[in-house]
Protein backbone atom coordinates (compact mmCIF):
# COMPACT_ATOMS: atom_id res chain seq x y z
CA UNK A 1 0.00 0.00 0.00
CA UNK A 2 1.13 3.49 -0.83
CA UNK A 3 2.19 6.25 1.53
CA UNK A 4 1.81 9.92 0.77
CA UNK A 5 4.55 12.26 1.98
CA UNK A 6 3.53 15.67 3.32
CA UNK A 7 6.19 18.38 3.69
CA UNK A 8 6.05 22.02 4.77
CA UNK A 9 9.00 24.36 5.26
CA UNK A 10 9.88 27.18 7.61
CA UNK A 11 12.82 29.15 6.29
CA UNK A 12 14.76 31.74 8.27
CA UNK A 13 16.39 34.25 5.93
CA UNK A 14 18.82 36.74 7.37
CA UNK A 15 18.02 40.13 5.89
CA UNK A 16 20.98 41.94 4.36
CA UNK A 17 20.77 45.14 6.41
CA UNK A 18 23.85 46.98 7.67
CA UNK A 19 22.51 47.28 11.20
CA UNK A 20 20.39 45.13 13.49
CA UNK A 21 16.61 45.04 13.45
CA UNK A 22 16.16 47.01 16.69
CA UNK A 23 19.50 48.81 17.18
CA UNK A 24 22.38 50.47 15.35
CA UNK A 25 24.92 47.66 15.96
CA UNK A 26 26.62 46.15 12.91
CA UNK A 27 25.50 42.80 11.46
CA UNK A 28 28.81 41.96 9.74
CA UNK A 29 29.52 38.22 9.92
CA UNK A 30 32.60 36.86 11.63
CA UNK A 31 33.52 39.74 13.98
CA UNK A 32 35.34 39.11 17.27
CA UNK A 33 32.87 37.74 19.86
CA UNK A 34 30.53 40.34 21.38
CA UNK A 35 32.15 43.32 19.63
CA UNK A 36 28.83 43.88 17.81
CA UNK A 37 26.69 43.23 20.86
CA UNK A 38 25.49 46.66 21.91
CA UNK A 39 23.33 47.54 24.92
CA UNK A 40 20.14 46.43 23.10
CA UNK A 41 21.65 43.13 21.91
CA UNK A 42 22.73 42.18 25.43
CA UNK A 43 19.45 43.48 26.92
CA UNK A 44 20.77 45.95 29.47
CA UNK A 45 17.92 47.24 31.63
CA UNK A 46 16.15 50.29 30.28
CA UNK A 47 17.06 49.91 26.60
CA UNK A 48 14.33 50.20 23.99
CA UNK A 49 14.06 48.67 20.52
CA UNK A 50 13.79 51.00 17.49
CA UNK A 51 12.71 49.29 14.28
CA UNK A 52 15.07 49.32 11.26
CA UNK A 53 13.45 50.71 8.11
CA UNK A 54 15.75 48.56 5.94
CA UNK A 55 14.36 45.36 7.47
CA UNK A 56 10.77 46.48 6.84
CA UNK A 57 11.54 47.42 3.22
CA UNK A 58 13.06 44.01 2.58
CA UNK A 59 10.04 42.23 4.05
CA UNK A 60 7.73 44.29 1.81
CA UNK A 61 9.81 43.45 -1.26
CA UNK A 62 9.53 39.76 -0.47
CA UNK A 63 5.78 40.02 -0.01
CA UNK A 64 5.40 41.75 -3.36
CA UNK A 65 7.62 39.16 -5.06
CA UNK A 66 5.34 36.29 -3.99
CA UNK A 67 2.13 38.21 -4.74
CA UNK A 68 1.16 38.37 -1.08
CA UNK A 69 -0.98 40.82 0.78
CA UNK A 70 1.21 43.26 2.76
CA UNK A 71 -0.44 44.07 6.08
CA UNK A 72 -1.15 47.78 6.32
CA UNK A 73 -0.79 47.33 10.08
CA UNK A 74 1.24 44.60 11.71
CA UNK A 75 2.26 43.99 15.29
CA UNK A 76 5.41 42.80 17.07
CA UNK A 77 4.97 40.25 19.84
CA UNK A 78 7.12 38.79 22.56
CA UNK A 79 7.82 35.07 22.36
CA UNK A 80 8.90 34.13 25.86
CA UNK A 81 11.50 31.49 26.65
CA UNK A 82 14.64 31.22 28.69
CA UNK A 83 17.91 30.52 27.02
CA UNK A 84 21.20 32.32 27.56
CA UNK A 85 21.62 33.22 23.87
CA UNK A 86 18.47 35.32 24.28
CA UNK A 87 19.28 37.61 27.20
CA UNK A 88 15.94 39.46 27.29
CA UNK A 89 14.10 36.23 28.12
CA UNK A 90 11.97 36.71 25.01
CA UNK A 91 12.41 37.00 21.28
CA UNK A 92 10.73 39.89 19.50
CA UNK A 93 8.75 38.28 16.67
CA UNK A 94 5.35 38.62 15.06
CA UNK A 95 2.42 36.40 15.91
CA UNK A 96 -1.15 36.93 14.75
CA UNK A 97 -0.48 40.03 12.61
CA UNK A 98 2.59 39.31 10.44
CA UNK A 99 3.85 41.80 7.86
CA UNK A 100 3.45 39.43 4.88
CA UNK A 101 0.27 37.40 4.35
CA UNK A 102 -0.47 34.49 2.03
CA UNK A 103 1.37 34.33 -1.29
CA UNK A 104 2.71 31.70 -3.64
CA UNK A 105 5.86 30.50 -5.33
CA UNK A 106 6.06 28.61 -8.64
CA UNK A 107 8.73 25.93 -8.58
CA UNK A 108 10.32 23.77 -11.28
CA UNK A 109 10.71 20.25 -9.94
CA UNK A 110 13.42 17.91 -11.22
CA UNK A 111 12.56 14.41 -9.99
CA UNK A 112 15.56 13.09 -8.09
CA UNK A 113 15.37 9.52 -9.37
CA UNK A 114 13.78 7.40 -12.03
CA UNK A 115 12.70 8.68 -15.39
CA UNK A 116 10.27 11.31 -14.14
CA UNK A 117 9.96 14.43 -16.27
CA UNK A 118 10.54 17.91 -14.82
CA UNK A 119 7.27 19.63 -13.93
CA UNK A 120 5.99 22.90 -12.53
CA UNK A 121 4.15 23.31 -9.24
CA UNK A 122 2.73 26.18 -7.22
CA UNK A 123 3.52 26.13 -3.49
CA UNK A 124 1.49 28.36 -1.19
CA UNK A 125 3.35 30.54 1.28
CA UNK A 126 1.28 30.90 4.45
CA UNK A 127 2.98 33.99 5.81
CA UNK A 128 6.31 35.71 6.42
CA UNK A 129 7.14 37.64 9.56
CA UNK A 130 9.95 39.79 10.90
CA UNK A 131 11.86 38.75 13.99
CA UNK A 132 15.26 39.02 15.66
CA UNK A 133 17.89 36.29 15.61
CA UNK A 134 19.38 34.90 18.84
CA UNK A 135 23.08 34.77 19.77
CA UNK A 136 25.35 31.74 19.55
CA UNK A 137 26.20 29.24 22.27
CA UNK A 138 29.59 27.51 22.28
CA UNK A 139 29.51 24.38 24.35
CA UNK A 140 33.09 23.18 24.10
CA UNK A 141 36.33 24.25 25.72
CA UNK A 142 34.99 26.09 28.73
CA UNK A 143 35.32 23.45 31.48
CA UNK A 144 31.64 22.70 31.87
CA UNK A 145 30.55 26.27 31.11
CA UNK A 146 28.86 27.56 27.94
CA UNK A 147 30.34 30.53 26.07
CA UNK A 148 27.87 33.09 24.69
CA UNK A 149 28.51 35.32 21.68
CA UNK A 150 25.73 37.85 21.17
CA UNK A 151 26.98 39.36 17.90
CA UNK A 152 24.18 37.62 16.01
CA UNK A 153 21.51 38.56 18.56
CA UNK A 154 19.20 41.11 16.96
CA UNK A 155 20.11 40.32 13.36
CA UNK A 156 16.92 40.77 11.32
CA UNK A 157 15.26 37.58 10.10
CA UNK A 158 12.32 37.06 7.80
CA UNK A 159 10.73 33.71 8.67
CA UNK A 160 8.93 32.36 5.63
CA UNK A 161 6.36 29.65 6.34
CA UNK A 162 4.93 27.44 3.60
CA UNK A 163 1.74 25.42 3.51
CA UNK A 164 2.28 21.62 3.68
CA UNK A 165 2.07 21.50 -0.13
CA UNK A 166 5.15 19.46 -0.98
CA UNK A 167 4.85 15.74 -1.67
CA UNK A 168 8.48 14.61 -2.06
CA UNK A 169 12.04 15.49 -1.10
CA UNK A 170 12.50 16.69 -4.70
CA UNK A 171 9.64 19.18 -4.31
CA UNK A 172 10.93 20.39 -0.93
CA UNK A 173 14.42 20.92 -2.35
CA UNK A 174 13.01 22.66 -5.44
CA UNK A 175 10.97 24.99 -3.22
CA UNK A 176 13.97 25.78 -0.99
CA UNK A 177 16.17 26.42 -4.03
CA UNK A 178 13.58 28.66 -5.67
CA UNK A 179 13.15 30.62 -2.47
CA UNK A 180 16.93 30.88 -2.06
CA UNK A 181 17.28 32.18 -5.58
CA UNK A 182 14.38 34.63 -5.12
CA UNK A 183 15.65 36.27 -1.91
CA UNK A 184 19.03 36.81 -3.54
CA UNK A 185 17.39 37.95 -6.78
CA UNK A 186 15.46 40.72 -5.03
CA UNK A 187 18.51 41.58 -2.90
CA UNK A 188 17.08 41.03 0.58
CA UNK A 189 19.41 38.22 1.74
CA UNK A 190 22.94 37.17 0.74
CA UNK A 191 21.86 33.51 0.77
CA UNK A 192 25.13 32.35 2.33
CA UNK A 193 24.14 28.98 3.77
CA UNK A 194 27.51 28.23 5.41
CA UNK A 195 27.17 31.42 7.43
CA UNK A 196 23.58 30.59 8.35
CA UNK A 197 21.93 33.32 6.28
CA UNK A 198 19.37 30.82 4.93
CA UNK A 199 18.27 28.08 7.38
CA UNK A 200 15.51 25.58 6.75
CA UNK A 201 13.26 23.70 9.17
CA UNK A 202 11.36 20.89 7.44
CA UNK A 203 8.09 19.46 8.75
CA UNK A 204 7.55 15.91 7.56
CA UNK A 205 4.65 13.52 7.98
CA UNK A 206 3.25 10.55 6.05
CA UNK A 207 -0.30 9.30 5.55
CA UNK A 208 -2.33 6.90 3.48
CA UNK A 209 -3.69 8.79 0.45
CA UNK A 210 -6.96 10.45 1.40
CA UNK A 211 -6.45 9.93 5.12
CA UNK A 212 -6.20 12.86 7.58
CA UNK A 213 -2.73 14.38 8.06
CA UNK A 214 -0.33 12.24 10.08
CA UNK A 215 1.69 13.43 13.06
CA UNK A 216 4.66 15.50 11.91
CA UNK A 217 8.22 15.68 13.06
CA UNK A 218 10.26 18.82 12.44
CA UNK A 219 13.84 18.53 11.14
CA UNK A 220 15.62 21.62 12.45
CA UNK A 221 18.28 23.87 10.99
CA UNK A 222 19.23 22.31 7.68
CA UNK A 223 21.78 24.49 5.95
CA UNK A 224 22.42 22.62 2.70
CA UNK A 225 20.11 21.33 -0.02
CA UNK A 226 21.96 18.02 -0.09
CA UNK A 227 21.44 17.50 3.65
CA UNK A 228 17.81 18.48 3.23
CA UNK A 229 17.23 15.75 0.71
CA UNK A 230 19.11 13.15 2.76
CA UNK A 231 17.32 14.14 5.96
CA UNK A 232 13.87 13.95 4.35
CA UNK A 233 14.60 10.61 2.68
CA UNK A 234 15.77 9.13 5.96
CA UNK A 235 12.95 10.65 8.02
CA UNK A 236 10.22 9.48 5.59
CA UNK A 237 11.56 5.93 5.59
CA UNK A 238 11.82 5.95 9.39
CA UNK A 239 8.20 7.11 9.78
CA UNK A 240 6.91 4.53 7.28
CA UNK A 241 8.88 1.74 8.98
CA UNK A 242 7.62 2.83 12.40
CA UNK A 243 3.99 2.89 11.26
CA UNK A 244 4.21 -0.36 9.30
CA UNK A 245 5.65 -2.05 12.38
CA UNK A 246 2.59 -0.96 14.34
CA UNK A 247 4.27 2.01 16.05
CA UNK A 248 3.03 5.56 16.47
CA UNK A 249 4.72 8.83 15.54
CA UNK A 250 5.20 11.26 18.41
CA UNK A 251 5.37 14.93 17.48
CA UNK A 252 9.00 15.91 17.95
CA UNK A 253 11.85 18.13 16.90
CA UNK A 254 14.66 16.17 15.29
CA UNK A 255 18.20 16.92 14.20
CA UNK A 256 19.98 15.57 11.13
CA UNK A 257 23.39 14.02 11.59
CA UNK A 258 25.23 14.55 8.27
CA UNK A 259 27.94 12.01 9.14
CA UNK A 260 25.56 9.15 9.86
CA UNK A 261 22.87 10.35 7.45
CA UNK A 262 20.23 9.86 10.14
CA UNK A 263 17.74 11.96 12.09
CA UNK A 264 17.27 11.72 15.85
CA UNK A 265 14.84 13.36 18.24
CA UNK A 266 16.12 16.06 20.57
CA UNK A 267 15.52 15.20 24.20
CA UNK A 268 11.98 16.35 24.90
CA UNK A 269 11.57 18.94 27.64
CA UNK A 270 9.59 18.02 30.75
CA UNK A 271 6.94 20.50 29.72
CA UNK A 272 6.00 21.61 26.27
CA UNK A 273 6.99 25.10 25.18
CA UNK A 274 4.63 27.72 26.43
CA UNK A 275 5.73 30.85 24.63
CA UNK A 276 3.02 33.12 26.08
CA UNK A 277 2.99 35.45 23.07
CA UNK A 278 1.71 38.94 23.71
CA UNK A 279 2.07 42.28 21.89
CA UNK A 280 5.38 43.92 22.78
CA UNK A 281 4.55 47.14 24.66
CA UNK A 282 7.98 48.55 23.68
CA UNK A 283 6.99 48.63 20.02
CA UNK A 284 4.08 50.42 18.41
CA UNK A 285 2.12 48.81 15.57
CA UNK A 286 3.92 48.98 12.24
CA UNK A 287 1.95 50.93 9.65
CA UNK A 288 2.92 50.33 6.04
CA UNK A 289 1.78 53.25 3.93
CA UNK A 290 0.86 53.16 0.24
CA UNK A 291 3.96 55.26 -0.48
CA UNK A 292 6.24 52.68 1.17
CA UNK A 293 4.57 49.99 -0.92
CA UNK A 294 4.97 52.01 -4.10
CA UNK A 295 8.62 52.65 -3.33
CA UNK A 296 9.30 48.94 -2.77
CA UNK A 297 7.48 48.10 -5.98
CA UNK A 298 9.61 50.58 -7.93
CA UNK A 299 12.87 49.09 -6.70
CA UNK A 300 11.84 45.51 -7.41
CA UNK A 301 13.66 44.02 -10.42
CA UNK A 302 11.86 41.93 -13.06
CA UNK A 303 11.16 38.67 -11.19
CA UNK A 304 12.53 35.29 -12.27
CA UNK A 305 9.12 33.88 -13.14
CA UNK A 306 8.24 36.86 -15.37
CA UNK A 307 11.67 36.78 -16.99
CA UNK A 308 11.38 33.06 -17.66
CA UNK A 309 8.05 33.54 -19.39
CA UNK A 310 9.38 36.49 -21.39
CA UNK A 311 12.41 34.51 -22.57
CA UNK A 312 10.05 31.90 -23.97
CA UNK A 313 7.46 34.20 -25.53
CA UNK A 314 9.66 37.10 -26.66
CA UNK A 315 13.01 35.47 -27.33
CA UNK A 316 11.71 32.09 -28.45
CA UNK A 317 13.87 30.08 -26.06
CA UNK A 318 12.77 26.68 -24.79
CA UNK A 319 11.26 26.61 -21.27
CA UNK A 320 14.26 24.54 -20.17
CA UNK A 321 16.80 27.09 -21.43
CA UNK A 322 14.77 29.96 -19.98
CA UNK A 323 14.63 28.25 -16.62
CA UNK A 324 18.41 27.74 -16.47
CA UNK A 325 19.12 31.30 -17.61
CA UNK A 326 16.89 32.64 -14.83
CA UNK A 327 18.27 30.36 -12.12
CA UNK A 328 20.05 33.38 -10.67
CA UNK A 329 19.91 37.09 -11.30
CA UNK A 330 23.63 37.12 -12.16
CA UNK A 331 23.06 34.49 -14.85
CA UNK A 332 20.12 36.38 -16.36
CA UNK A 333 22.03 39.65 -16.33
CA UNK A 334 25.04 37.99 -17.97
CA UNK A 335 22.79 36.55 -20.66
CA UNK A 336 21.08 39.86 -21.37
CA UNK A 337 24.34 41.83 -21.45
CA UNK A 338 25.97 39.32 -23.83
CA UNK A 339 22.87 39.29 -26.01
CA UNK A 340 22.93 43.09 -26.22
CA UNK A 341 26.20 42.74 -28.20
CA UNK A 342 24.70 40.31 -30.71
CA UNK A 343 20.92 40.73 -30.45
CA UNK A 344 20.02 38.22 -33.18
CA UNK A 345 21.99 35.36 -31.57
CA UNK A 346 19.46 34.37 -28.89
CA UNK A 347 19.65 30.62 -29.18
CA UNK A 348 23.41 30.58 -29.74
CA UNK A 349 23.95 32.91 -26.78
CA UNK A 350 21.79 30.65 -24.59
CA UNK A 351 23.65 27.57 -25.84
CA UNK A 352 27.05 29.03 -25.06
CA UNK A 353 26.03 30.08 -21.55
CA UNK A 354 24.30 26.81 -20.69
CA UNK A 355 26.96 24.75 -22.47
CA UNK A 356 30.60 25.84 -22.61
CA UNK A 357 30.45 28.69 -20.08
CA UNK A 358 28.61 26.67 -17.40
CA UNK A 359 30.79 23.60 -17.99
CA UNK A 360 33.97 25.63 -17.66
CA UNK A 361 32.67 27.42 -14.54
CA UNK A 362 31.89 24.03 -13.05
CA UNK A 363 35.35 22.71 -13.82
CA UNK A 364 36.98 25.75 -12.22
CA UNK A 365 34.61 25.72 -9.24
CA UNK A 366 33.35 29.24 -9.98
CA UNK A 367 29.90 30.74 -10.18
CA UNK A 368 28.69 33.05 -12.89
CA UNK A 369 29.49 36.18 -10.85
CA UNK A 370 33.16 35.10 -10.88
CA UNK A 371 33.26 34.28 -14.60
CA UNK A 372 36.64 35.32 -16.05
CA UNK A 373 34.92 36.29 -19.31
CA UNK A 374 32.74 39.40 -19.37
CA UNK A 375 29.35 39.41 -21.12
CA UNK A 376 30.84 41.94 -23.56
CA UNK A 377 33.65 39.52 -24.47
CA UNK A 378 31.22 36.66 -25.02
CA UNK A 379 28.90 38.93 -26.99
CA UNK A 380 31.83 40.08 -29.14
CA UNK A 381 32.52 36.47 -30.03
CA UNK A 382 28.85 35.75 -30.79
CA UNK A 383 28.88 38.68 -33.18
CA UNK A 384 31.72 37.08 -35.12
CA UNK A 385 29.94 33.72 -35.25
CA UNK A 386 26.87 35.52 -36.48
CA UNK A 387 28.61 37.38 -39.33
CA UNK A 388 30.51 34.28 -40.44
CA UNK A 389 33.97 35.56 -39.47
CA UNK A 390 34.65 32.44 -37.41
CA UNK A 391 33.43 28.86 -37.57
CA UNK A 392 32.23 26.95 -34.50
CA UNK A 393 35.66 25.37 -34.22
CA UNK A 394 37.19 28.84 -34.38
CA UNK A 395 34.78 30.06 -31.71
CA UNK A 396 35.84 27.28 -29.36
CA UNK A 397 39.43 28.42 -29.77
CA UNK A 398 38.50 32.08 -29.19
CA UNK A 399 36.59 31.03 -26.07
CA UNK A 400 39.52 29.01 -24.76
CA UNK A 401 41.89 31.95 -25.17
CA UNK A 402 39.45 34.45 -23.66
CA UNK A 403 39.00 32.20 -20.65
CA UNK A 404 42.65 31.50 -19.94
CA UNK A 405 44.37 34.64 -21.26
CA UNK A 406 41.63 37.29 -21.65
CA UNK A 407 41.33 39.60 -24.67
CA UNK A 408 38.55 40.65 -27.04
CA UNK A 409 37.30 38.25 -29.72
CA UNK A 410 38.45 40.40 -32.66
CA UNK A 411 42.01 40.65 -31.36
CA UNK A 412 42.18 36.90 -30.71
CA UNK A 413 40.80 36.09 -34.16
CA UNK A 414 43.54 38.21 -35.76
CA UNK A 415 46.34 37.04 -33.49
CA UNK A 416 45.51 33.36 -33.96
CA UNK A 417 44.53 33.64 -37.63
CA UNK A 418 41.08 32.19 -37.00
CA UNK A 419 39.28 34.16 -39.67
CA UNK A 420 37.15 31.77 -41.67
CA UNK A 421 37.94 31.53 -45.40
CA UNK A 422 34.72 32.49 -47.13
CA UNK A 423 36.37 33.49 -50.36
CA UNK A 424 34.87 31.11 -52.94
CA UNK A 425 37.91 31.38 -55.21
CA UNK A 426 40.26 30.21 -52.44
CA UNK A 427 37.99 27.32 -51.49
CA UNK A 428 37.62 26.24 -55.13
CA UNK A 429 41.38 26.18 -55.49
CA UNK A 430 41.74 23.86 -52.51
CA UNK A 431 38.98 21.58 -53.79
CA UNK A 432 40.49 21.44 -57.29
CA UNK A 433 43.83 20.37 -55.84
CA UNK A 434 42.24 17.64 -53.75
CA UNK A 435 40.32 16.26 -56.72
CA UNK A 436 43.47 16.26 -58.81
CA UNK A 437 45.56 14.54 -56.11
CA UNK A 438 43.11 11.76 -55.26
CA UNK A 439 41.93 10.28 -58.54
CA UNK A 440 41.18 6.81 -57.11
CA UNK A 441 38.88 8.08 -54.36
CA UNK A 442 37.24 10.50 -56.78
CA UNK A 443 36.48 7.64 -59.17
CA UNK A 444 35.10 5.50 -56.31
CA UNK A 445 32.91 8.34 -55.11
CA UNK A 446 31.59 9.02 -58.55
CA UNK A 447 31.03 5.27 -58.86
CA UNK A 448 28.57 5.45 -55.94
CA UNK A 449 30.62 5.35 -52.74
CA UNK A 450 28.81 8.35 -51.21
CA UNK A 451 30.43 7.84 -47.86
CA UNK A 452 33.72 9.10 -49.28
CA UNK A 453 32.30 12.64 -49.19
CA UNK A 454 33.42 13.00 -45.57
CA UNK A 455 36.93 12.02 -46.58
CA UNK A 456 37.08 14.96 -49.01
CA UNK A 457 35.64 17.37 -46.44
CA UNK A 458 38.34 16.29 -43.99
CA UNK A 459 41.13 16.79 -46.52
CA UNK A 460 39.81 20.19 -47.55
CA UNK A 461 39.41 21.38 -43.97
CA UNK A 462 42.93 20.25 -43.23
CA UNK A 463 44.25 22.02 -46.30
CA UNK A 464 42.51 25.23 -45.19
CA UNK A 465 43.91 24.76 -41.66
CA UNK A 466 40.36 24.50 -40.36
CA UNK A 467 39.47 27.96 -41.55
CA UNK A 468 37.23 27.18 -44.49
CA UNK A 469 33.60 28.17 -44.02
CA UNK A 470 32.05 24.69 -43.67
CA UNK A 471 28.82 25.47 -45.48
CA UNK A 472 30.65 26.93 -48.43
CA UNK A 473 33.17 24.13 -48.52
CA UNK A 474 30.41 21.53 -48.63
CA UNK A 475 28.69 23.35 -51.40
CA UNK A 476 31.82 23.68 -53.58
CA UNK A 477 32.90 20.07 -52.99
CA UNK A 478 29.49 18.70 -53.84
CA UNK A 479 29.23 20.77 -56.98
CA UNK A 480 32.69 19.78 -58.26
CA UNK A 481 32.52 16.10 -57.35
CA UNK A 482 29.03 15.55 -58.67
CA UNK A 483 29.85 17.41 -61.85
CA UNK A 484 31.14 14.38 -63.70
CA UNK A 485 29.23 11.72 -61.82
Amino acid sequence: MQWEIIIGLEVHTQLSTNSKIFSGASTTYGAEPNTQADAVSIALPGVLPVLNKGAVERAIKFGLAIGANIASRSVFARKNYFYPDLPKGYQISQFDLPVVGQGELTIQVEPLSGNGKPYEKVVRVTRAHLEEDAGKSLHEDFRGMTGIDLNRAGTPLLEIVSEPDMRSAAEAVAYAKTLHSLVRWIGICDGNMQEGSFRCDVNVSVRRPGAPLGTRREIKNLNSFKFMQQAIDYEVQWQIDTLENGGKIQQATVLFDPEKGTTHAMRSKEEAHDYRYFPDPDLLPLDITPSMLAQARDTLPELPQAKRERYVTELGLTPYDASILTSSREMAEFFEAALAEAPDQRKICANWLIGDVSAQLNRDGLDIAQCPITPKQLGGMLKRISDGTISNAGAKEVFRVMWSESGEADAIIDAKGLRQVSDTGAIEKIVDEIIANNPTQVADYRGGKDKLFGFFVGLAMKASKGKANPAQLNEVLKRKLDNNK
Binding site: S23, N34, V50, R73, V75, T146, P285, L286
Partner: protein, 95 residues
Protein backbone atom coordinates in the same frame (compact mmCIF):
# COMPACT_ATOMS: atom_id res chain seq x y z
CA UNK B 1 -11.86 32.51 36.93
CA UNK B 2 -9.86 31.60 39.99
CA UNK B 3 -6.42 30.08 39.99
CA UNK B 4 -5.29 26.89 41.69
CA UNK B 5 -1.98 26.52 43.51
CA UNK B 6 -0.84 24.34 40.62
CA UNK B 7 -1.53 27.18 38.15
CA UNK B 8 0.56 29.56 40.25
CA UNK B 9 3.39 27.01 40.46
CA UNK B 10 3.36 26.60 36.68
CA UNK B 11 3.47 30.35 36.09
CA UNK B 12 6.27 30.69 38.63
CA UNK B 13 8.23 27.95 36.94
CA UNK B 14 7.78 29.53 33.46
CA UNK B 15 9.02 32.82 34.94
CA UNK B 16 11.92 31.03 36.68
CA UNK B 17 10.72 32.17 40.12
CA UNK B 18 11.28 30.09 43.26
CA UNK B 19 8.31 30.54 45.62
CA UNK B 20 7.51 29.03 49.00
CA UNK B 21 3.99 28.01 50.05
CA UNK B 22 3.20 31.32 51.73
CA UNK B 23 4.31 33.24 48.62
CA UNK B 24 2.25 30.96 46.42
CA UNK B 25 -0.85 31.61 48.51
CA UNK B 26 -0.33 35.36 48.37
CA UNK B 27 0.46 35.39 44.64
CA UNK B 28 -2.61 33.24 44.04
CA UNK B 29 -4.91 35.73 45.68
CA UNK B 30 -3.30 38.71 43.88
CA UNK B 31 -3.34 37.02 40.49
CA UNK B 32 -6.94 35.92 40.99
CA UNK B 33 -7.83 39.55 41.68
CA UNK B 34 -6.30 40.51 38.33
CA UNK B 35 -8.25 37.77 36.59
CA UNK B 36 -11.46 39.04 38.14
CA UNK B 37 -10.71 42.49 36.73
CA UNK B 38 -10.11 40.93 33.32
CA UNK B 39 -13.38 38.99 33.61
CA UNK B 40 -15.17 42.27 34.29
CA UNK B 41 -13.62 43.84 31.15
CA UNK B 42 -14.42 40.79 29.07
CA UNK B 43 -18.07 41.16 29.95
CA UNK B 44 -18.18 44.41 27.97
CA UNK B 45 -19.69 44.06 24.51
CA UNK B 46 -16.84 44.74 22.04
CA UNK B 47 -18.53 43.51 18.89
CA UNK B 48 -17.13 45.43 15.93
CA UNK B 49 -14.27 46.98 17.91
CA UNK B 50 -10.83 46.31 16.42
CA UNK B 51 -8.53 44.81 19.07
CA UNK B 52 -5.98 47.29 20.31
CA UNK B 53 -2.35 46.28 20.22
CA UNK B 54 -0.96 49.30 22.00
CA UNK B 55 -2.27 51.84 24.50
CA UNK B 56 -1.29 54.75 22.28
CA UNK B 57 -2.97 55.21 18.94
CA UNK B 58 0.22 56.03 17.07
CA UNK B 59 2.40 53.95 14.84
CA UNK B 60 5.98 52.81 14.92
CA UNK B 61 8.68 55.27 13.86
CA UNK B 62 11.40 53.72 11.77
CA UNK B 63 15.15 54.12 12.09
CA UNK B 64 17.43 54.52 9.04
CA UNK B 65 19.53 51.40 8.42
CA UNK B 66 22.79 52.88 9.68
CA UNK B 67 25.46 51.57 12.03
CA UNK B 68 25.54 53.95 15.00
CA UNK B 69 27.10 51.69 17.64
CA UNK B 70 30.74 50.74 18.18
CA UNK B 71 32.11 48.02 20.42
CA UNK B 72 31.77 48.60 24.16
CA UNK B 73 32.62 45.01 24.98
CA UNK B 74 35.23 45.80 27.64
CA UNK B 75 32.87 48.15 29.46
CA UNK B 76 29.89 45.77 29.29
CA UNK B 77 31.95 42.78 30.39
CA UNK B 78 33.14 44.50 33.58
CA UNK B 79 29.72 43.68 35.08
CA UNK B 80 29.54 40.08 33.77
CA UNK B 81 30.14 37.36 36.38
CA UNK B 82 32.51 35.44 34.11
CA UNK B 83 34.02 36.05 30.66
CA UNK B 84 36.61 34.28 28.55
CA UNK B 85 38.03 35.05 25.08
CA UNK B 86 35.41 37.78 24.70
CA UNK B 87 32.54 35.37 25.48
CA UNK B 88 30.09 35.60 28.35
CA UNK B 89 30.28 32.35 30.33
CA UNK B 90 27.14 30.78 31.76
CA UNK B 91 26.37 27.40 33.38
CA UNK B 92 26.23 24.73 30.69
CA UNK B 93 22.90 24.61 28.86
CA UNK B 94 23.46 21.90 26.27
CA UNK B 95 20.49 19.58 25.83
Amino acid sequence: MSLSNADVKKIASLARLAMNDAEIASARSQLSGIFELIAEMQAVDTKGVVPMSHAQDVSQRLREDKITESSQRELFQTIAPQVESGLYLVPQVIE
